[in-house]
Symmetry: C2
Subunit: 369 residues, 2 copies
Amino acid sequence: MTYKFNPIPRVLMGPGPSDVHPRVLRAMSAPLYGHLDPLFVQMMDEVKSMVQQCFITENLLTFVVSAPGSAGMETCLVNLLEPGDECIICVNGVFGGRMVDIAERCGAKVHRIDTEWGKVTEPDQVKKALDACPKPKLLAIVHAETSTGALQPLEEISKIVHEAGALFVVDAVTSFCGVPLEVDKWQIDAIYTGTQKCLSAPPGLSPVSFSEAAVKVLDNRKTKVQSWFLDLTMVKNYWAGAKRAYHHTAPVSSVYALHEALNIVLEEGLEARWARHQEVHQYLRKQLEARGFRFLVEEPYRLPNLNSVYLPEGCDEAALRSQLLNKYNIEVGSGLGAFAGKIWRVGIMGESATKNHVNLLTGALDELM
Amino acid sequence: MTYKFNPIPRVLMGPGPSDVHPRVLRAMSAPLYGHLDPLFVQMMDEVKSMVQQCFITENLLTFVVSAPGSAGMETCLVNLLEPGDECIICVNGVFGGRMVDIAERCGAKVHRIDTEWGKVTEPDQVKKALDACPKPKLLAIVHAETSTGALQPLEEISKIVHEAGALFVVDAVTSFCGVPLEVDKWQIDAIYTGTQKCLSAPPGLSPVSFSEAAVKVLDNRKTKVQSWFLDLTMVKNYWAGAKRAYHHTAPVSSVYALHEALNIVLEEGLEARWARHQEVHQYLRKQLEARGFRFLVEEPYRLPNLNSVYLPEGCDEAALRSQLLNKYNIEVGSGLGAFAGKIWRVGIMGESATKNHVNLLTGALDELM
C-alpha cells in the first residue's frame, strides 16, 4: 500500500523548524555526490568555514554532527565526560534537564544548579556550586532555553568557570544566528546547535565546535567514548583529517541545505540578522501585548526569536492553537513541561522573522479571538 | 566569506549513496511541516507502514532512526545489550567489525566468529560458537557486507540462534529492497538498514524494526540505555506512542524523501525490484568479466547489487577510478580495509540498477583502458 505525498504549506512560527528559504529547499533537489567525492569533501570544508564564521571562532575542530541538535548535545557530553567525572549543569528548563540525563548516562557525577523556569542562572549561583564542587571537569549551560524563551548571559559565567579550571559547554540550539554569540571571545570550549531554528535549514544536523582545551581533554581520555557514532576521535578524521577517513555516510542532501542556508546567513551578515530578529521581536511584542498576551520572561532576558507568552484570560490555548493550524496553516508552539497548557511559544526565527509573519499571526488571531 | 553552490551531477555506482529518483529529490523541496504537526505525524505513520511492508514484518516497533545506518546499528546494540551481557558477532568484513566495537562499548562480552573477508559465516561456525557461549543474549550478523559484497544466508542460522534462546540481530543496510529479505519469516528480532542503498533515498536515516521478543528484552532492562539520543524506551513514544511525546526534532525533509522513495519501491513491487537487481547484476557481470574483471565472492554468495571485483592485470585502480570520476562523472567504490587498493566495489542499487548505468560504465572503461 502506498500513500500520496502532498504536504500542505504551513507558516512555521513555533519553536522550530522555522520556514526554510526556497533556495535552501531547491539545494536539496540537486543530484547527490558520493560522501567521499572530492567535490563533496570540498563542500564539507566550505560548510566548516561558514560554521566557524557563524560561531565567530577559529576552532579547528568545528564540524557538523550527522543528526539533530539533541545528538549534538550528546556529542559534546559523551566526548568530554568519562565515568566518575564531576560536572555542573545549569537547569532552568527542559534542555538543561536533558543535559543532566545525558551526563548521568556518561557515568558522571552531576551537580545541578536549579533555577526557576523562565529565569536565568546568576553568576553567584555558579560560584556557590563551585564551592561545593571545586574541580568540575565542565560546566554546561543553555544559552537560549527553547522551553521557556529565556536568554542566558554567558560572559561572566564563562570567566568564573575558567577560573575554576573547568571547560565551558554551551547549548546554542536556539540562539545560533539569531542573537549575539561569539564563541572565541566568550571562551566557549564546546558548543552545539541545530539547523532548524534561526539558521532556517531543515532539522537533522548539528553544527558543533570545540576549543583547543576541549580537544586536549578529548586526546587525554582514558576510556573509549561510549557512543561509536558520536566518537569525535574518529569523526574528526572524516571532517578534518588529512586522509578523510570514512566513518559513516554523511547525509549529503542535508549538507547541501546547510551549505545554502549558511550562505544566506553570511550574505545578510550576522549583525544585520541579529538586528532583524530584535526588530521583529519588538513589533511582535507590541502586537501581542495589545491583544492581552503577557510575556513569561522578564524583559532583560527575553529571547527575541522565541517568545513565551501567557494567553489572555479565558482563552482555550489548545483550541485556539488548533484553529490557527487548521484554518490558517499557522503553527505556534505549546508550552513544554511545567508550562504545558499555560503558554504559547511564538517563534520568529530565520526566514520566519519578518513583520509579514507577525501580521499573518495577529490577523488570524483577531478573527479567531 | 560565502561559497557557490553548484554541485556537478554524478552517476553513482559505488557502495552508496546511489542515484536518487527525481520524485524523491523533488519531495525534499516541499515546505516543511513542524515535527509535531498532526499531518506530519500521519506521514510518519505512513512511513512506518511502508517500512513494515518493505521489511515484510508486522512488528509494531518499526520506525526510523534520525541518523544514518551506523546509528541504526548502534540503536540495535545499545538498546539490547547491557554491561556484562554476552553476545556473538559474526565478522567477515568492516561492518561486522564495527558491531564488535559498538557491542564492547556497551560493556558486553563479545564472542567473535571470524570468517575470511569475502566469504560467509557457516551454520557450523555458529553452532561451535554457541558451544563456547551457550547463553548469549544475541547473535548479530551482516546480511550484505558492504565492504566485500558477500550475501549471507540467514534462515538456518536464525533457527540455530533461536534454539539457543538468543535474539537474532541483522544488518540489512545494503540488502534492504535489493535482495530477498523477510523479517518475520526469518525470525529476525532486530534489524536496521540505511536509506542510501537499494532504497535510493539520500543518506541520513535508518529504518529499524524490533520483534516482540526484542521489545520484551528492552522492557526488562536493568540499566538505562547509554545513549539518550538512541534510547528506544523514549524514541518509541514519539514514533508509536498514543501521545506522540516530543523526543527530538525529526529531520522533516529527509522523512519526506524517505516517504517518496518507499512509495516508489512499493509501486514497483519488492519482488520485481529484487528481480531487476539480479537481472542487471547478470548483465554487469557479463560485461565486466568480458573485460578481465574477476569477482571476489564465490557465485552462490554474490550480492547482486554491490559487485566486488579485482581489476584486470596491470590496471592502476586509483588512477582509473579517478579518471572515471573526473572525465565521466561516474563514481565506483574503492576497496575497504584489507581490500584497499585491490578491488572495486561497483554498486547497481535502486535507481542505479539499470542496464543504462552498466553501459555508461563499460563505455567509459573501454575508452580509458
